[in-house]
């Protein structure tokens, strides 16, 4: 965390850090404080009549069964997306690490989804699973299963989880591959000489050495699942059916952009923000330890 060798200049560091700080202050902190201020107001969308209502927005949220349900849905969603995206990526990375020939090709092909905008990804998956015209739902019908995520909440949830995880797999894949490559050969070979098979080696050596990467990715994926998946949910299920896929960030958007209840929406953002801060603090603390180690 601390470097031994440093420069002693007084003014220079401030100058170096200023551009980022200025931009952050003007374009983040100032608007963010306005957004936070909004959470204690009851205001019409155009800002013509404003009233301070202090914690009323927050209290209303915690009393709202819809909101609590969305919180539960978000938890299930985030855990599932993270688990699926990490597990698949880990598997693919381990496999790709074993391969010497064609590694570049595999890597290239697996990075594609990362380049697709979230909302567009949502539309693609909708195309595949549309109960009437989707290719996958058609195939399922051939084997006797009628897919209809418009009526079945479980199927809707599965669909958004798949779409969201799909996008993240390539990001995780690259990190895992990088992490695997940096584990020294000698350690693995020593274990092999001692008679440990590939599975045993993975569990006892590779995975523990990979754990900082795993933890880092867990937090990044959870943040992604909390925030950046809004586009996918919006495009694929719109939070339905009957609120089965309504995650918290989607509710923020719906209340703010569709319902124009900026106060309520801001209150939800504040809560989300606190949750993410909590997660990030935990990550930061852990990584600090790791760097020492």
């Amino acid at each position: 965390m601390e470097k031994r060798a440093v420069f002693q200049h007084r003014l220079l560091p401030y100058l170096l850090v200023m551009p980022q700080i200025v931009v952050t202050l003007v374009f983040f902190f100032w608007p963010a404080s306005q957004a936070v201020r909004q959470s204690v107001l009851a205001e019409d969308p155009f800002g013509l009549t404003t009233r301070f209502v202090w914690a009323e927005n927050f209290r209303g949220l915690l009393r709202d069964p819809d909101y609590l349900r969305a919180a539960g849905t978000t938890a299930v969603f985030s855990i599932s997306v993270t688990a699926l995206a990490l597990a698949s990526a880990l598997l693919l990375a381990v496999m790709a690490d074993r391969v010497i020939r064609g590694a570049t090709v595999y890597r290239t092909l697996l990075i594609w989804p990362y380049a697709v905008a979230p909302a567009v990804a949502g539309v693609l998956w909708l195309f595949l699973f549309n109960p009437t015209v989707g290719i996958v739902s058609f195939a399922l019908r051939q084997v006797g299963y009628r897919w209809n995520h418009l009526l079945n909440g479980g199927e809707a949830m599965l669909l958004v989880i798949l779409a969201a995880a799909w996008k993240q797999v390539s990001y995780n894949f690259v990190f895992f591959l990088a992490g695997l490559s940096s584990i020294g050969r000698s350690v693995i070979e020593a274990a092999a000489i001692d008679g440990a098979g590939p599975a045993r080696r993975f569990v006892a050596i590779v995975f523990p050495l990979l754990s900082p990467t795993v933890f880092f990715l867990v937090v990044v994926n959870v943040v992604y699942a909390f925030f950046d998946t809004f586009g996918i949910v919006h495009a694929v299920t719109g939070g339905g059916p009957a609120g089965a896929t309504q995650i918290l960030v989607f509710k923020v958007f719906r209340d703010g952009f569709v319902g124009f209840d900026l106060g309520r929406s801001a209150a939800q953002s504040v809560i989300l923000m606190l949750v993410v801060i909590g997660l990030t603090v935990a990550q930061f603390r852990y990584l600090e330890r790791r760097v020492h180690y």
């Binding site: 374009f27 100032w30 092909l109 690259v174």
Partner: protein
């Protein structure tokens, strides 16, 4: 790997092939949809083989397709997207590099305070603070400009964080050696740090370029001049047609076109991309 077990090797390739099939399938479907005519796309099921309208759809998308949504010509839109993505990537890299350098290599009051301030920007995504940010941008007279499109999005923590991690792993001996040679901080930065950070810079460039390229809500909000539209905005425009029929083949063709630059960037730089992140993990 260590042993040579043919079974495992085969299994490895099978898993990878399956992985690729799953991952690439939606994109393949997009491609197929972009090669058919509309009635074929909306009936069940859409054929899995590409259709005969490929050239027609892509040509239409390039020349007229975007015209019918009242936007700027394709070339202009691609340029807008390119400028936005490049400016954001470059901007973020430069200011993050400087900030991370200051935070790691200097001791000064509020050092960690600044770091946390920068870090906090991860906590509140753009969508949530979009209305007040719009007001700030408009007060500064930056609407409808490349500046307004890019500068507000340059405030971000990921790059700073990544650079900080990397700088912490740089051996102190390098600094000592530079000191002995009489180099000042800026010289050290320019001649030592930046060159060895090259792989990280490339990696970040890929991530940030894609981020900038895929921006939708922000450009939509702050530009009223349609010559400032980006290509992702154009795609959304084709889908949001209220009660009319969405022109799916056109949308898919434009989506494929819009994906090409980011994918190209990823593919071309993926060598540096992976290496860059490896350094960080040390």
């Amino acid at each position: 790997m260590v042993e040579r077990q043919p079974v495992l090797t085969v299994l490895t390739h099978v898993v990878l092939a399956l992985g690729i099939a799953v991952v690439a399938f939606p994109i393949y479907v997009t491609f197929v949809a972009s090669s058919h005519a509309l009635p074929d796309v909306v009936r069940a099921p859409m054929p899995l083989a590409p259709g005969g309208h490929l050239v027609e759809n892509y040509w239409g998308a390039l020349t007229e397709g975007l015209r019918t949504v009242g936007g700027a010509p394709v070339g202009r839109m691609l340029l807008n997207s390119l400028v936005m993505a490049l400016a954001i990537a470059a901007g973020k890299i430069v200011i993050s590099l400087l900030s991370a350098y200051a935070i790691v290599y200097f001791r000064f009051p509020f050092r960690m305070g600044f770091f946390w301030m920068i870090f906090m920007t991860l906590m509140l995504p753009v969508e949530v603070r979009i209305v007040p940010t719009f007001k700030v941008v408009s007060d500064l007279g930056m609407l409808n400009s490349y500046g307004g499109l890019t500068i507000p999005l340059i405030a971000s923590a990921t790059a700073t964080f990544l650079f900080r991690q990397f700088f912490l792993t740089v051996p102190d001996e390098l600094l000592e050696a530079a000191r002995i040679d009489g180099a000042g901080p800026l010289t050290f930065l320019k001649t030592v740090l930046v060159p060895i950070s090259r792989t990280n810079i490339a990696a970040l460039f890929v991530i940030l370029f894609i981020y900038g390229w895929n921006q939708y809500l922000w450009p939509l909000l702050i530009t009223t001049d349609q010559r400032m539209d980006t290509i992702v905005v154009a795609i959304h425009r084709m889908v949001a047609v209220a009660e009319a029929q969405v022109e799916w083949p056109r949308v898919m063709a434009t989506t494929m076109l819009a994906m090409l630059p980011p994918v190209a960037v990823v593919v071309l730089m993926q060598r540096w991309f992976v290496k860059g992140l490896v350094e960080t993990e040390k």
